[in-house]
Amino acid sequence: MFDIVVIGGGHAGVEAAWISQQFGLKVAILSLPGIGLASTPCNPAVGGVGKGQVVREIDALGGLMGRLADLSAIQYRTLNESKGYAVQSTRVQVDKDAYSRNAEKIIAEETTIEVLRDKAVEIDREEGIFNITLESSIKIQSRRVIITAGTFLSGLLHTGEEKTSGGRTGCVPGPGLQALIKEIKLNPLRFKTGTPARLNKNSIDFSVMDPQESDEHSLNFHFAHEPKQRFLEQVSCYLSRTNEDTLGIIRSNKDRSPIFNGQIKGVGPRYCPSIEDKAFRYPDRNSHHVFVEPEGLETDSVYPNGISTSLPKEVQEAFIRTIPGLENAEILVHGYAVEYDVVDTTQLDRALEHTEVPGLFFAGQINGTSGYEEAAGQGLIAGLNASLGLVGRSKLHLKREESYIGVMVEDLVTQKRDEPYRLFTARNERRLFVREDNTFLRMAPYRLSLGLNTNLDQSLSLLVSEYEVVMNLLSSYRYRENQENREHFLTQGYGTFAPNITLSELLKRSFLDPVAVLTNELLRAGIVVDSRVVRTAAISNKYAGYIDRAKIDLDRVDRFENKKIDYTDLLKSSNISTECKQRISEVRPETFGQLKRIQGIRPATLATVAGNFN
């Protein structure tokens, strides 16, 4: 008997299992034979705008992804670097083999997790215990089950006219979700995603492309790593572009495109269109970026980012070879699209537990999200909450005002999704506060509440207390009127000297880089603090006024945001339409803010509820 069985060994599954075993629970991962743990079947990159924040949140909560990403990174970038600290995000290209190898190694060496290379074919539940029948006819039992099956449930692959069952090219298909658990309600839409062909590095002429080098200043994800340490050799990515010939070939093969000839019924993400989508939806554009990204140091495979496709193989070859540098490109694996089942996430609660089937959790792409980071974040939440339940503690809900994971989970469970969900910073109302640099602060209270007795708490607490010391210093440290200080301002380019100006005020001067100035001033005063603390303190100080001001405005409108409501009362109310009631009963909002964000709810129901507060 296991405490927790995780079905699926991808990013969500690994994260769920990793966090669960920290509670001393007996955990198994069911992973299909032939696929490594935490594999990266699409773009070999971790992080990105909004997603970098998620990786750091996972890391600060004790997850694995940040560590794996650092250990496997072969190129670093800080996105939006020139646009202010609040909107910066880290992204790394990873060596996909190393990433999976590191995951296997850490799971095998550092944990008691049992990895079963087998497939679940049936699950039933008796008296709160799940009985899982595996393909090898073995039956196992578990108190909790977390399904993280990605695109494997009733997965259907398309490459031109060819259709094969499966969740990924070269892999066996998984069973239909409802065959596993009959009570599960599916999203009425099937989703679709796609991936480009993989090319042989040796057949590419990189000399005609623009190189993008790794940024040595970007900071590692895992807080216990040296911020700028690199574990693998760093390589470049390259930029090329499609042209009229490329798009001409695609446009003349519309009838052979599974997306446009009706063969694919699933809904794909608009933010991650295939090259066919781009060709037909934007007929005026004849050039799109193609980022040529290495998939690893040892492999010859490269990932041409921007031309995901499900066109027939010969059409893929023809259009790829029109792209500068790819004239002689040899295709290692052809691109394909995959359609798959997703669950109706409005049936899940904020712990990602199914409301109709207690003890059953869902995380990752099966919940209709895209992206490794989104998957891992959900895996962490599902694993944490499954474990907390087993050790008799209350569930952990991250708030949307404080984390991207909180934004994502709430968006998923309160709204029916009509296309794959990806995190964008635009989804976050408090971007100025929910930043990469202050993740350790934002997550500290949650981390502490988990009560895991690891070194993590101690070292994170150290950062938090250093931060508090520095923040106190900022408001108390004043520059007295004297010749030395005047000269100091002059030589450092700090602008006009103002007698008794505080360090905090100085850092807010709009023409100064607060991080550089604070680093400089602490050095002058001989105070040694962790560089990340300096960074966070300087940035937090700069934004403090804006954050407060926005909070006042948002609170005015959202003064009921966190007001608890009892949705069952709403269901009994006679003045709420049946349609609204149905949405409410699906979403089960717990606060007024959540009610507000349900599609098709406002304004009358809101007026009703708000009126009831008084």
Partner: protein
């Protein structure tokens, strides 16, 4: 406010019950189906066709006695005013008949009497109308001038409503184009994203400026414009007040003002309903100048649409005179000799003024008879564009005597200011009302927005837009800009409704080729 939470069938008379009329319309709303009317008509209500009129007899279901001959129209939801099933019953409009019929329905237990505004509340609830539109409807129903009436309609379904929707669209565009700069730079390119954002801000800013022009002056005073008479106790306010109301044409209401602080009467002129207010209660004695009643009176004066300061030039200046700057000064007792000399000594001669005789027929002036049969509208001094920054009423342009249009030859100027004629009571009425009317016309020239909540929000939006424009010049930190865009959005949301992030993202995906 129990009714906020109920969706019981309701009934009420929609055409008013103050007097007897030929027809009154009774409206029933919120029933599941027409079977609720079983027993009320000589025809089977369940066979009433939607959107057709049906002539029938109305019965008392208790004893099947005939009550009235009526015409019914059935509006089947959601294609009705408020989205619910509605039956409109046109009955004979005798007040007692209407009450009796309403009681029949409520006594049957199948209907509850609707609370005021409840039909419309349900329209709001069922998203037939937005909050702004409901406010427009309220303005339409309670307008006291043709202008207000028109604007009510424009807010409900016309030009103003379209402007608000356009403002929301431009804000959406602003947000979307801003987000390009953060989440989608790799897709659209840095220069394109920045340019798109600045264009979108320019578009938003120019619409805000356009709307702001329409809320500049204190426009809510135009809703029910008040003309206030103030001045010392013996200045002649009350007799001027009575004079202004003395003609039949001006009396529109017999409801007396009820407070002891002032007396108010309705007065209609050029299709605008004004309230004429005599602040008789304000006295300038040392003892009670700060009493509550006085404070209220002062406020009444300061907030009035049109302020008339009445002065007896033979009396010493009073404290009341100084409460606020008048739109016009009326010097009374100008039938008396030497009044010119007294006016010359008055500090209020710097405001536009009229000289009036209230005591009886007046002698024509020496300086030439101006006996305009109708003095006609005096040329309003050109007010020019209203400065939006000013919160108060427009400034009097310049002081001095107001020269009525002369029908006769223009008197050559000799020395000193032109001496205007002393006006009779009737002339004074026309003169004053023409001045009031000119001010009103000047103020509505820019089609000011009358609804105070809207005007306040637009002022705030304008102020925040202005701050935001400055911020853009000083900062290139997108985090800060983002935070301030959201603050702006909070206000736009209050005016029109919210824009969830999915809508912003959807807008981006529809307009840009996103995705690597």
């Amino acid at each position: 406010m129990e009714w906020l939470y109920s969706d019981d069938p309701i009934i009420a008379c929609s055409t008013g019950q103050l007097e007897n009329t030929a027809i009154s319309v009774i409206r029933a709303s919120g029933f599941d189906n027409l079977s609720i009317f079983q027993g009320f008509f000589d025809k089977n209500p369940e066979e009433f066709c939607p959107h057709r009129t049906i002539f029938c007899h109305l019965f008392d279901p208790a004893n099947s006695s005939l009550v009235d001959q009526v015409v019914c129209t059935y509006f089947k939801g959601p294609n009705s005013y408020n989205g619910e099933n509605i039956l409109e019953i046109s009955v004979h409009g005798n007040r007692f008949n209407v009450s009796r019929i309403l009681s029949l329905f409520t006594a049957s237990g199948r209907f509850r009497k609707a609370a005021p505004g409840e039909f419309t509340y349900r329209a709001l609830k069922n998203k037939k109308l937005t909050l702004s539109q409901v406010e427009g409807l309220d303005l339409l129903l309670n307008a006291s001038s043709g202008f207000a009436l028109d604007q009510g309609l424009q807010v409900l379904c016309g030009e103003v409503n379209e402007k608000y929707i356009e403002l929301q669209n431009r804000y959406l565009s602003l947000r979307s184009n801003f987000e390009l700069n953060i989440d989608f730079v790799e897709d659209v390119g840095e220069d394109v994203a920045d340019q798109k954002f600045r264009e979108a801000f320019f578009q938003f800013e120019s619409l805000v400026a356009e709307l702001y022009k329409r809320v500049g002056a204190n426009t809510s005073v135009l809703l029910k414009p008040e003309i206030v008479l103030y001045g010392a106790v013996n200045a002649g306010k009350s007799s001027l007040f009575n004079e202004l109301l003395s003609t039949d044409r001006s009396i529109v209401s017999d409801i007396k003002g009820t407070t002891r602080d002032y007396v108010s009467e309705g007065l209609s002129f050029n299709s605008v309903e004004y309230s004429l207010i005599d602040t008789a209660g304000i006295r300038s004695t040392e003892n009670d100048i700060e009493s509550e009643g006085i404070k209220r009176g002062r406020k009444k004066i300061q907030n009035a649409f049109y302020k008339i300061l009445v002065i007896n030039p033979f009396e010493p200046p009073s404290k009341v005179d100084a409460i606020d700057d008048p739109d016009v000064v009326v010097f009374t007792h100008c039938d008396l000799a030497n009044h010119e000399k007294e006016i010359e000594r008055s500090e209020y001669k710097i405001f536009p003024y009229l000289k009036v005789s209230l005591s009886g027929p007046i002698e024509p002036e020496k300086s030439g008879p101006i006996e305009p049969e109708k003095s006609g509208p005096i040329e309003p001094e050109k007010s020019g564009p209203i400065e939006p920054e000013k919160s108060g009423p427009i400034e009097p342009k310049k002081g001095g005597p107001i020269e009525p249009e002369k029908s006769g030859p223009i008197e050559p100027k000799k020395s000193g200011p032109i001496e205007p004629a002393v006006l009779t009571k009737n002339q004074a009425f026309m003169q004053i009302m023409n001045l009031v009317s000119s001010k009103y016309s000047a103020l509505i020239e820019d089609r000011p927005l009358l609804l105070e909540r809207h005007a306040d929000l637009i002022r705030t939006i304008a102020q925040k837009t202005d701050e935001f424009g400055k911020l853009l010049k000083e900062h290139d930190d997108l985090g800060i800009i983002s935070s301030e865009i959201n603050r702006l959005g909070v206000e736009v949301e209050e005016l029109i409704g919210s824009l969830p992030p999915d809508q912003v993202l959807g807008n981006i995906f529809e307009n840009f080729c996103i995705g690597k």
